[in-house]
């Protein structure tokens, strides 16, 4: 497979505009300006490219929702908040190939007839911010951004905006609130951002990785992109692999690759010769799969969906057979309790409740009925809130308990034995 997203990872100076252009960078723009915005949208629709931020919504379809005759400016927001535990792909993409993101932004803004793009970057990523800012400055200097993009009659300004370290600001409407200078918490929908987004204007929010696939689609055509992958899961996807694995890191693979093959051939298998116990396939929010389930799936939206989980952001966490699932879930409980924005009753109260029960179970103080209580609380948190953050804790809770219930019950009978606890990283 020819890499699309990571093709410049080995090029040492790709982050500079010279290095980028030497490897074909910004060359799609000449083709772009021969197309109409509607043609660009159609091309991206035809490619089947789906959002890589988590929800997997077709990018071209989303762009098509934007009303263009409201007289209001249209905005593009680039979601570079990357807060999902287990996910670290956007970070490497931005560090190693920042101009490719800018090229994707130029194409997308042209399609949307938008003249302003904001890159909302996670506050902790300071170096990445500097790298991107340098790339933006270079692009302005070379005329790829500004009043006449690449000499054409198209104006585009790109601004960086730093978040302040809240996971919820990765949710697109919380991101918009935060960008507007307000407290980062999700908005109720309707209205959707495509109609009422940043400053009340039509807005598209896309993930970094989504936008970085766009130049290839324009350069080679939708059909070429759609050839990669399977069915409705076209193209390539980055997986961030971490946990009990021999070769952690980001891997670009064609969608549809069997997990078993990916694990053994590319990631070097489970570390220390241990057996696989469980896998988080697409970031901490998705239901966990047992080793047995994992070995049967292919890494695409449909296959993972059929297995009862999600491809999500592609943050893959490998757990070996010595992993304590109670502790693992408690860590997630801590995270989601800490990060809930607190607007919605079920999420605000449910995350705290679950965290407290899990913390107690981890201390070995199990009460009869704890598992059923956790399942019930998780069910009550699901599908009843402003954003899906609440589901993002409910789903792991339910799947961990359903699939590893005995560990939660044993935690009480035995007290957590040391050997069962999650291994520290070596």
């Amino acid at each position: 497979m020819e890499p699309i997203l990571t093709k410049r990872f080995a090029v040492s100076n790709a982050a500079t505009i010279d290095g980028y252009m030497a490897t074909g960078g910004y060359s799609t723009l000449s083709k772009l300006f021969t197309m109409t915005p509607a043609q660009v949208i159609d091309e991206v629709k035809a490619s089947g490219l789906r959002g890589r931020g988590g929800a997997g919504f077709p990018a071209g379809v989303k762009w098509g929702f934007v009303p263009k005759t409201t007289g209001k400016p249209i905005y593009l927001c680039v979601n570079a908040d990357e807060g999902e535990p287990g996910t670290f792909k956007d970070r490497e993409l931005m560090t190693k190939d920042p101009h490719a993101l800018l090229e994707g932004i130029i194409i997308t803004c042209y399609a949307l007839e938008s003249h302003t793009a904001y890159i909302y970057i996670r506050g902790e990523m300071f170096q990445e911010l500097q790298i991107l800012q340098r790339a933006i400055d270079e692009a302005y200097a070379k005329g790829f951004l500004g009043n006449k993009v690449a000499g054409h009659d198209f104006k585009l300004d790109v601004y960086m905006h730093r978040g302040a370290g809240a996971y919820i600001c990765g949710e697109e409407t919380a991101l918009i609130e935060s960008l507007e200078g307000k407290k980062g918490q999700p908005r109720i929908k309707p209205p959707f951002p495509a109609v009422v987004g940043v400053f009340g204007c039509p807005t598209v929010v896309n993930n970094v990785e989504t936008l970085m696939a766009v130049p290839y689609i324009i350069e080679k055509g939708a059909a070429e992109y759609a050839k990669i992958g399977v069915g409705k899961s076209t193209g390539t996807k980055l997986f961030s692999v971490s946990g009990h694995i021999n070769k952690p890191g980001n891997y670009e693979i064609p969608l549809g690759l069997p997990f078993s093959e990916f694990l053994e051939k590319q990631c070097g298998g489970v570390w220390k010769g241990r057996k696989l116990k469980a896998v988080i396939m697409g970031g901490s929010s998705v239901p966990i799969l047992t080793a047995e389930e994992a070995m049967k799936v292919n890494l695409d939206y449909e296959s993972l969906g059929a297995a009862g989980t999600m491809l999500g952001s592609g943050g893959m966490v490998i757990m070996d057979d010595q992993t304590c699932m109670v502790t693992a879930l408690k860590i997630l409980g801590d995270f989601y309790h800490h990060e809930s924005c607190g607007q919605c009753t079920p999420c605000r109260e449910g995350t705290g409740w679950i965290q407290k029960v899990l913390a107690r179970v981890v201390r070995g103080e199990v009460r009869p009925g704890d598992c059923d209580l956790l399942l019930s609380v998780a069910t009550n948190m699901q599908g009843r809130t402003i954003c899906v953050f609440s589901d993002a804790l409910a789903m792991p809770v339910k799947s961990y308990i359903q699939k590893f219930r005995h560990e939660f019950e044993d935690a009480g009978k035995l007290g957590l034995r040391k050997g069962q606890q999650i291994q520290t990283w070596e």
């Binding site: 109720i188 705290g352 009843r384």
Partner: protein, 505 residues
């Protein structure tokens, strides 16, 4: 007009309405906390979830616009379960304060819990603890543990009071309502946040811990703080008024009132003149009504009608003004009548409710053509109701031979008075005021007159009788008198004023 079905009943509704608005309009109650008809939609409490056919999840009715053919269920098993669970979640960190909570008895959490849940909580962990008495401003106190974070108070300040003074700090179950930079909330409408807080989180520093609300009797009334005449519910018990709360009247005050008006009830309780007083050597002495009437009779004998005058306050009701107007103009031929009222230095004023004219009834004093005070040839002056400082000063310096003061409170300056008659406040009688718009609004008798106080129309009726006249002696008849004597009031009928009042012609 789209048609929608709610719980198997079909309704024609207006496009653009939300499902919750329709349900509430049609009397199909759906419980809700964060929704408030005058505020933007927050959609955070999740109490108003309903089932909509064809949608995979329950939807919040407060943010779901109606659509043709929509089928809504407000009582299905899924909805009932969701309501139970939302209440269970709210109670996770809610303290068991009910026995000492001011809101008990009018608390939406208590009420909904009994109606929609009534099952014991399964939460057995330690609750989050937060400050119990955090002043948000001079008039509003927050019990952070009781707050259910519905954000009504925050939205009120931002959207109605016009100053985003409140915010929600922190996040998750550590969220707390705060003021920016901890600066005290100063807006002129802050106590409304107490009214719209669905639980006992916000209390009014004026009212808290004063009374269990179920002992209070409620009487429909009107605020006398300014010429807007906000509609209020007067809460009282045992002859004491405890608080005012705004009462809905879309045409006047929507559902709000200002803080200043809110505390004007205090004069009803404090510093009252309890009996008639007459001047003896050395000062004013208590006396009986009988003696007082004798005194007044003597005065009337000593001064011919053209030597008499009445100074009538815009604080008086329509009935008071009608009775005195009639007494002066029809019985005391040649007597003069003047208007007065409360005047404050740099009065508060804004575009929401507060008006610079701090009298509830200036409209009628103007309609009766009352002129500014001019003592002229006046020898016997009746001062009826609260007069301006300027007028009191004029009277004190150019003192007529005899002054009869009719007043409710001893805080008024009346060193010059020869006779003082105790006046009942509006809380102690039935009557009407005409607000600045010309809206005649009814207030109802809440408590018995304090001491031996009497209404001004009643006093007029008595005085009239001393000389064989016949001013009516009920409020209703005095109102008719006004309708007869002022053309603009002609078509108004006491019984037809309703709860929201009627405009004069």
């Amino acid at each position: 007009m789209p048609k929608i079905t709610i719980d198997d009943k079909e309704f024609e509704v207006e496009a653009g309405q939300t499902v919750l608005q329709v349900c509430l309009d049609k009397g199909l109650f759906v419980p809700h906390y964060c929704y408030h008809p005058k505020l933007s939609i927050a959609g955070n409490c999740r109490m108003c979830l309903v089932e909509i056919e064809g949608r995979p999840k329950l939807e919040i009715s407060c943010n779901t616009p109606v659509a043709e053919g929509m089928k809504v269920r407000t009582k299905s098993q899924a909805v009932v379960d969701a309501q139970k669970s939302v209440l269970e979640f709210i109670l996770v960190n809610h303290p068991l304060d009910c026995p000492i909570c001011d809101q008990a008895g009018e608390c939406k959490l208590q009420d909904y819990y009994f109606q929609y849940s009534s099952v014991p909580s399964r939460f057995k962990e330690e609750k989050v603890h937060k400050p119990k008495a955090k002043p948000l401003g001079e008039r509003v106190m927050l019990d952070d543990e009781r707050c259910i974070l519905c954000s009504r108070c925050v939205r009120f300040c931002d959207e109605v009071a016009g100053d985003a003074e409140l915010c929600i700090d922190n996040r998750g179950d550590h969220s707390t309502v705060s003021t920016f930079n901890g600066q005290p909330m100063k807006n002129a409408y802050s106590i409304n946040t107490v009214d719209i807080c669905p639980v006992g989180a916000l209390t009014s520093t004026d009212f808290r811990f004063n009374k269990r609300v179920w002992f209070l009797q409620k009487t429909k009334s009107v605020c006398t703080g300014c010429s807007t005449g906000c509609n209020i519910t007067m809460d009282h018990e045992g002859g004491v008024v405890y608080r005012y709360r705004p009462r809905d009247n879309e045409a006047v005050n929507q559902c709000w009132m200002c803080d200043e008006g809110r505390v004007t009830y205090k004069y009803i309780n404090d510093d009252r003149i309890l009996s008639p007083l007459v001047r003896k050597e050395g000062g004013l002495e208590r006396t009986t009504w009988e003696n007082a009437w004798n005194q007044v009779r003597m005065l009337l004998q000593n001064y011919s009608p053209d030597q008499r005058a009445a100074l009538l306050s815009a604080q008086l009701s329509n009935e008071d003004l009608a009775a005195w107007h009639s007494l002066v103009t029809t019985q005391w031929t040649g007597a003069a009548q003047y208007g007065t009222g409360k005047v404050v230095e740099s009065p508060s004023e804004d575009t929401l409710l507060r008006r610079a004219d701090k009298n509830p009834n200036s409209y009628t004093t103007r309609a009766l053509g009352l002129k500014p005070l001019d003592l002229g040839k006046c020898k016997l002056l009746f001062v009826v109701g609260e007069a301006s400082e300027t007028d009191l000063h004029t009277i004190a310096t150019k003192k007529p031979e005899v002054v009869v003061v009719i007043s409710s409170n001893s805080s008024t300056k009346f060193e010059f008075a020869d006779v003082v008659l105790p006046l009942a406040t509006f809380a102690e009688q039935d009557g009407t005021f005409t607000n600045y718009q010309g809206r005649v609004q009814r207030f109802h008798k809440a408590i018995a007159p304090r001491g031996e106080a009497k209404a001004a129309w009643n006093i007029a009726s008595h005085i009239s009788l001393l000389e064989g006249g016949k001013i009516p002696d009920t409020a209703r008849d005095c109102f008719d008198l006004l309708a007869k004597s002022v053309p603009a009031y002609k078509s108004l009928r006491w019984d037809e004023l309703g709860d929201e009042g009627k405009l004069v012609d």
